[in-house]
Amino acid sequence: MRRNWLVGLVLALFLGSAIADTNLNGAGATFPTPIYSKWFSEYNKLHPDIKINYQSIGSGGGIKQVQAGTVDFGASDGPMTDEQLAATPFKVVHIPTVLGADVPTYNLPGVSKDLKFEGGVLADIFLGNIKKWNDPRLAKANPGVKFPNSDIVVVHRSDGSGTTYIWTDFLSKVSPEWKKKVGTGTSVSWPVGIGGKGNEGVSGVVKQTEGSIGYVELIYAVQNKMDYGSVQNVAGQFIKADLASVTAAAASVKDMPADYRVSITNAPGKGVYPVSSFTWLLVPVKWSDAGKKKVFIDFLNWMVGPGQSMTSTLSYAPLPASVAAKVKVTIKAIQ
């Protein structure tokens, strides 16, 4: 008798845990990993039976795994292309989660003021057209700064990354020559300069090399208390990136496409930081497992609602209210 009772208890425990626990798996972009980890762990505290695992394997890997159906959702810093969407056997929606930005960082001894960069000047520096710091175009935008007659050393990311995607996307928009010669991508064929691996690699090379200029993620620059320059926006203002000016870039998009696959670099409007971008979750529209689907929809609603208030502590810019409201409608489309 007693033994039966024990067996019953063990069975109940197994079945109970199998019914109660829901595990969701995602994979993709590394850039939003800190905020995603925070969200998933906070959500697990609210709902102890729900576990969302996220592997930061890179945007490319995230897209591949969603296409193959090996994860419940993916994540990417760059939107999926039309070809990639066509090659996926099921429909996938993009859900914007937070915003990020790239900032120019440099090592110029004797210059203490934050430098101002026009988009075209940045493109010409990264193309190798502007070779010296005392170039008249740099001097014009920075009155009062005494530039040395030294070579500019360009530093870029050597690893493929969403950061590079945003940077090259911006340069393509402000410089026809960049667009023609180099283009936009997570890895590109750099005309000049040396490559560092990761944000830490780029900032390491910049710190080591006098006269160098590179780009890193805003979050990385803020967390490491690095100096960075401001970039001129379409309205002609030189804006230093911060959470407000990055969110403003997303809010300024007048006709947000229904699938959110939009580049917000060089967005119009006042107070907008021009080298900003969304990062997205890639979510299949149709879910075969009704339990998982409900759990994930609940999570998405929480993420665009209360979850957004957690972004700024980690230096991510939250979605503007207009976009968050729109995302809530999109979530309803998941079946």
Binding site: V153, S187, I194, K197
Partner: protein
């Protein structure tokens, strides 16, 4: 048929009887007939099992290498088909327009490894000779330990050290001096970043030094003592003795050590990526940034979204694989020809 071989072996190898019984039976276990039994019947089976196991091991190596090659070709078929042999001669690497060529990466891999070898080989052979022939016995153990410790340091630590210590040192002190005194060679000139082929070569040298040094030491120790004594008896100085008796006989082994080091140099990724500058260009100057096959795979694989880009990266792996095979084959050929022309000789 006798009992299953494993059964017999395990019975002989591990005492399954309780401890107190072993104490009683111990003398019997050593009785002559028991020993005899072990030596005859079981060893035949043990031999067969051993033979079988070694064959399995050897075949497994071939199968693994074959599967790796098969998978590399399979995954890179898109790029193999599109670029063909031009992949090896093109200098462009542009993921945006999906046009790929491996030449700058092949060049970077070979040159950075060669720079590494040029620095590491004399250093490690010298270290090995000092440790075996000259070093006082008391500090020998400590020194050997230090050399072997170098091998235990993770790659990324070398990379960070390279970035924050070696590169500034190169930029401020060594490279300006090299440019001044050896600039005429064309190898040391151009823009001085600190990051570049020379930095990568030095990092590689430090990383392969322990491999070459410890194998060379073993090989040198293995040269019979009589050879040394014979040379000394003929009136040779210490250097002459080392040259005639030790190095000449140890040469094939030292070459083997160098080949192993070269293999490590080819595949080294993390530390090299952090100091080489990652720019796919072919420049005569060692100050110029370069790029290696292993580095570009590590850098771009995670974020490669296009199928052609992925395929090209896998083909880079294939190129690295074949390059390693070719270099190994050439090195073995070299060892063979040296042995044939100048065989080791006994003085004793």
């Amino acid at each position: 048929m006798p009992a299953p071989p494993q059964d017999r072996i395990s019975r002989n190898a591990s005492p399954e009887t309780p401890a107190d019984e072993v104490a009683d039976n111990a003398p019997q276990a050593l009785a002559p007939d028991a020993k005899l039994k072990f030596r005859t019947g079981d060893s035949v089976i043990a031999d067969r099992v051993f033979r079988g196991l070694t064959i399995i091991c050897a075949v497994a190596v071939f199968v693994i290498v074959g599967l790796v090659l098969f998978e590399l070709v399979l995954q890179s078929r898109l790029s193999l088909h599109k670029f063909g042999l031009h992949f090896l001669t093109k200098t462009i690497w542009d993921p945006v327009i999906e046009d790929f060529g491996a030449l700058p990466f092949i060049y970077g891999t070979i040159v950075s490894s060669l720079v590494g070898l040029v620095i590491a080989v004399p250093l490690s052979v010298g270290t090995a000779l000092f440790l075996t022939e000259i070093c006082p016995r008391r500090i020998r153990a400590v020194l050997s330990l230090c050399v072997e410790l170098l091998a235990a340091i993770p790659s990324v630590i070398y990379g960070v050290w390279g970035m924050f210590v070696l590169v500034p040192f190169l930029r401020v002190y060594l490279q300006p001096a090299l440019a001044r005194y050896f600039g005429w060679t064309g190898l040391f000139g151009g823009q001085n970043f600190g990051f570049g082929m020379l930095a990568a070569g030095i990092i590689i040298a430090i990383m392969i030094l322990p491999i070459i040094a410890s194998i060379t030491r073993e090989v040198v120790v293995a040269v019979p003592r009589q050879q040394r004594e014979a040379a000394l008896a003929l009136g040779a100085t210490k250097w002459e003795m080392l040259r005639m008796a030790v190095l000449r006989n140890a040469r094939p082994g030292i070459f083997g050590a160098i080949i192993l080091g070269l293999g490590r140099a080819f595949g080294e990724t993390m530390a090299v990526t952090m100091v080489i500058g990652n720019s796919p260009a072919i420049a005569r100057s060692l100050f110029a940034p370069g790029y290696t096959l292993a580095s570009v795979i590590a850098n771009e694989f995670t974020e490669a979204t296009g199928n052609m880009h992925l395929s090209a990266l896998v083909e880079m792996g294939l190129v690295l694989f074949v390059l390693t095979l070719i270099v190994n084959a050439l090195a073995n050929l070299l060892v063979w020809s040296i042995k044939r022309r100048n065989p080791g000789r006994g003085l004793a």
